[in-house]
């Protein structure tokens, strides 16, 4: 067994990325994610890769596009305002089917807001904050270990589908330290070769083009339908979530990332007090684990969705299970608005008693 390390969530992302063979990092400083570029700037030279501190978030995402188009595993990371600036670039990457990893260690907004944790970028991440109706893969780690594991997984998914992937975490998961088992990366045997990637046309007959412009009648529609078929396929094959104490639960608490961690303790408290409550934690936010909600509300269970925002994922829950009673408990993000386990437990009690 390799030694368990004790590292920050942000560092785990960086370690996972390097372990997964990412050799190109492009980023711009912003709290609370700067540990990622800092870690990578230290480690990358020895690995022979490239670390560029770009002049802006926009330059970063476009460097990523360029590196990705050339077939490299590459990444960028930022936090909410910086991610907003990348929306055009993300849309281009989605449109030109460039894989690549975008990390959002989300902070509170809108605007400059604050540097505390927030889950208010859920819509932006999952619905396509950029123009054009694309989607990207969105993974929501809830532990330092998952920061590492899901970063690797994100590269695999992204390469497999040629769809950009995002790690969506926040200041809690990014700044906390926990044990990490840094197991080695194994590439899935069935990853398709990147035969579309640019290398200089060499002696090939046909030059390779990475682009998102489609002007001929019907071309762009077909292209969009192709993208949407990939999304549907991911919905079939790539959904991940985790359950805790769900077997006999009458109330299903649901939350992702940092709030899932907090809710986990709240459920533990509630179980101790005899409440029949469990936790359903989506790990993939896009594709969204709709079926799991259907399964766990099939017998009239109620759902309580907890978010560190004013209500975003709850829409996807409601769309997944329109027949179920779905309630919401949220805190608008900002300094001091992280809910405590006790607070969520109080909500659980309320929902178990009232309903």
């Amino acid at each position: 067994m390799t030694k368990r390390l004790f590292v920050k969530g942000n560092e785990a992302v960086a370690m996972g990325a390097l372990e997964a063979g990412c050799r190109y990092y492009f980023g711009y400083p912003i709290t609370p994610q700067s540990d990622i570029p800092e870690y990578i700037s230290r480690e990358m030279p020895a690995l022979g890769g490239e670390f560029i501190q770009a002049e802006s978030e926009i330059a970063s995402i476009n460097m990523l596009l360029g590196a990705s188009a050339c077939g490299a595993r590459a990444m960028t990371s930022s936090s909410s305002p910086g991610i907003s600036l990348k929306q055009e670039g993300i849309s281009y990457m989605a449109g030109s089917e460039c894989p690549g990893l975008i990390v959002n260690i989300s902070r509170s907004g809108p605007g400059l807001g604050g540097i505390d944790a927030s889950q208010a970028d859920y819509f932006q991440a999952t619905k396509g904050g950029g123009h054009g109706g694309y989607h990207i893969i969105v993974l929501a780690p809830a532990s330092v270990q998952e920061m590492y594991d899901l970063t690797m997984h994100a590269f695999d998914l992204s390469d497999r589908y040629r769809v950009p992937a995002m790690i969506l975490a926040d200041a809690v998961i990014g700044q906390m330290k926990e044990a990490l088992d840094p197991h080695p990366y194994k590439a899935p045997a069935d990853l398709p070769p990147k035969d579309w990637a640019l290398t200089g046309s060499g002696t090939r007959e046909v030059n390779k083009v990475v682009k998102s412009l489609y002007l001929g009648v019907g071309e762009l529609e077909q292209h969009n339908l192709k993208l949407h078929r990939k999304y549907a396929q991911m919905q079939e094959q790539e959904v991940r979530c985790e359950g805790y104490e769900l077997e006999d639960a009458q109330l299903v608490v649901t939350a992702y990332g940092s709030t899932a961690r907090i809710a986990h303790t709240a459920v533990r408290i509630a179980r101790r007090e005899g409440y029949k409550v469990g936790l359903l934690r989506p790990i993939t936010l896009f594709p969204f684990p709709k079926q799991a909600y259907r399964d766990h509300t099939a017998n009239g269970q109620k759902v309580l969705c907890v978010e560190l925002n004013t209500g975003q994922m709850v829409d996807d829950v409601r769309l997944a299970v329109p027949q179920a009673e779905v309630d919401f408990y949220g805190r608008a993000p900002g300094a001091g608005s992280l809910p405590t386990p006790e607070e969520i437990f109080a909500q659980i009690r309320l929902h178990c008693e009232v309903h």
């Binding site: 004790f6 540097i115 700044q175 906390m176 330290k177 926990e178 044990a179 961690r261 907090i262 386990p341």
Partner: protein, 183 residues
């Protein structure tokens, strides 16, 4: 095993370091722990606090509303966080700086420890944090002091290993003080 502790003080008092140490030591012993710091926009000075949650199972929330124990190192921390300590929990107050005698609550175990004086006595005023940590570990028994010492060795850069004995002394002194206080 499920424990959680909250620590707060000035920026310079080494609160974050002992939070790190405690969590790391827990992990070295094969259990799980999370360390979650509060971090601000200001680089120097200001307040610092962190939460450490320890468990032999999965660590749930890295933040707690009502910590089981609190290490409060200055008056500001006392004022803000003393009321939040869980009923039946424990508070370790640095009585060198905190005048408040903690009498506003009788529902918890209270130890007032003159950590600054003790640290100076051991030989370095910066050892306040270690004194407090030693005290907490004595109370909670969440990790062995040896694990703490091992963690410390890993955390301190090689060139500072000469300070290890002094740090050990501080841990032991804090532990002894609390042992006596609770005896």
């Amino acid at each position: 095993m499920n424990h959680d502790v909250f620590m707060a003080g000035f920026g310079g008092q080494g609160v974050l370091l002992i939070g790190n140490l405690l969590a790391y030591a827990t992990i070295l012993e094969g259990n799980n722990a999370s360390y979650f710091p509060a971090y601000g926009v200001e680089k120097r000075g200001g307040a610092a606090n962190c939460t450490v949650v320890m468990s032999d199972g999965a660590v749930g929330s890295p933040v707690v509303g009502e910590p089981e124990a609190a290490l409060l190192m200055n008056p500001a921390a006392m004022e803000q966080f003393y009321p939040r300590v869980r009923k039946g929990g424990m508070a370790l107050l640095n009585s060198s700086l905190i005048e408040d005698d903690g009498s506003s609550r009788s529902d918890l175990t209270l130890v007032r420890i003159p950590a600054n004086e003790m640290a100076l006595e051991i030989g370095d005023s910066r050892l306040v944090n270690m004194v407090m940590l030693g005290g907490y570990v004595e109370y909670s028994r969440v990790v062995a002091r040896d694990a703490l010492k091992e963690a410390l060795k890993e955390v301190l850069p090689e060139r500072n290993h000469r300070f290890l004995p002094m740090n050990h002394n501080a841990l032991e002194a804090g532990a002894a003080f609390v042992r006596e206080a609770l005896a």
